[in-house]
Symmetry: T
């Protein structure tokens, strides 16, 4: 029986008009379509573009870690 | 006709009693009074001061990029 | 009379199911039980674990600064 | 209608005998074979190996961001 | 004939109960199942979880570089 | 019932004549005397002093995270 | 007579369709319109956007230092 | 009544033949001529040039934060 | 007989109206009241607040390392 | 027979009036006069001084790695 | 009598087929042939090349500090 | 006639019982014995050891740049 796990990390950018948290959730939701066993995320960068002097979209870069199912 | 753009970046600190997003919006609103064509922002640092064991103000340092109108 | 202050900094990780701000407040509330004169915080890292493709908990590492009462 | 976009970032190393710019273009050209909607790149590291006291190849590590087509 | 190479980098986390080196080897072994021409690795982070006051598993994040076979 | 946890992080330096892993274990063993619920560690710095051209001691700085028991 | 100098640093982003060097020159040329005594620059970030699988524009962020004329 | 403040940060380099502290004071004195409400500074870099094997001038780069008076 | 040592590191901020060195000494003096065997310090950050265009206080963040007496 | 190699790294600054690549080549050419078996370089910093609003010289700091011939 | 010491730091890369510690020792052993009074080392980077899906050599970059004998 | 210069950088640690500036001067004085054309220095790290609750020696790591005389 295997006693250790291997993880892979992907880097994604989620965006949202409303909040940093929502941008993170949007990235996770998209990634979840193809990666079923996501474990954790790390925020790498928070930025956004500006429209008419206000935040247009928050753009949050995250790394997503997930366990690799052993073949 | 010019085929490239030049941008300038300013560093500002916005504060807010309610949220990190609101602190960012406050910095943008103030900057918008004198800079009309802001394009993007990057969060540099998030901190705050504490009052009675709770967050008093969030203080978010951002860099703001805007296009320079060519003379 | 002393003309300068000395501060100590602690590193804590607060977590929350709802938001980054709430994770910060949770860390401050716990620290406030033993440290009465907290002055400021600095966000060091923002991450979280993922449950069923959504954020399970935000985990925000902060440094908390507080003034040392001189003996 | 969706109001936000999700991006993925890949990390690649392009090389070239002639210039840093050519190394970047080489990495983009290779990535373009499988990723059609590349949006931006960020230079992460510039290095190279040396042959007979001259630059043999420039090796430029870049991150490439591209929009994920929603299913 | 092509005179330059393109590489891709993946980020993985290997774990091991015994050593940092073994955690690296475990990540490489897993990656080797699908990527045949791995060239080099770079250690990005070393951490671990603790069980009963001792290291439970070392968790070593590495970036793995491999040459892309040109189509 | 509480739905979130708070962690504290300490910074320690373990040393060992034999290996990096042993230096980590030594720091954990010492910390375990006063902190019973250590959860994870992060390697911050690896260095050492040199005696007669060989490693005298490895000195490994780690951060140790542990859950705070709520009062 | 003053025996020391004071400098100010601005952060700008130059862009170019052709090269990193040209992007730097473009930023300097624009800045030169209002700042006459620029002394040095430091490259902070190199990135670009991608059009049809090729570099569309290089975008190079630089800091520009210039001596302040004393009043 | 406004409940929050906005700050701007400038980056300057002060120099001095005598000390790091004097270089900081020189930068502040120059900036004070045009900015009246400076609040804090952060040392970003300390360097200098060398004359005849001794420090010619200390060159200290600082960021200066000041409150923006709301219009 | 034990052949290795364990150290703990604390993070403190010393302040002084006169110099960076004095701010460091002030932090050490305060820490010395409760920690008797301090071994070394590392400067982490140097900043200060400004009063009337001059340095009000230097604020120097240091990490202090000290040997743990084994029980 | 020895199964491993040892490398030494030097830090140099090359300059050029024309390009970043030329500055790198200039540093390599100078180093090549005394070091015959240079293997690789890493760009550490890119900067330059400005003359009349244009780049006077590019100044590129590189680390140069070379194999040590065993005695 | 002199009351202070001066140190120089060299940057070297040691390699080993077996472990990170062995790579460090190999670098120290080579350096020891010409530098007799090495005092400490700091690990700067840990990487390696891969052969047949396993670690071929660990390559550990270290800085080595040694006291300068005063003339 | 050559139109560009090449510089080499050395890393040294100066120490002093009195101040950070004196530690820098001590490193420069020692280096000056063998390197005659030192041009600039950059402070890399400031630390020290502690004796009886006070600073024993400041230890300042600097990089020293000097022009290479062309052969």
């Amino acid at each position: 029986m295997s006693e250790h796990h291997i993880y892979k990390k992907l880097e994604m950018v989620g965006s949202s008009k409303t909040s940093i948290e929502d941008a993170i959730e949007n990235a996770l939701a998209e990634c979840h379509k193809s990666v079923k066993n996501m474990d954790w995320f790390e925020v790498v960068e928070t930025r956004g573009h500006i429209v008419s002097g206000k935040v247009g979209h928050y753009q949050v870069t995250i790394k997503i870690g997930f366990k690799i199912e052993k073949s």
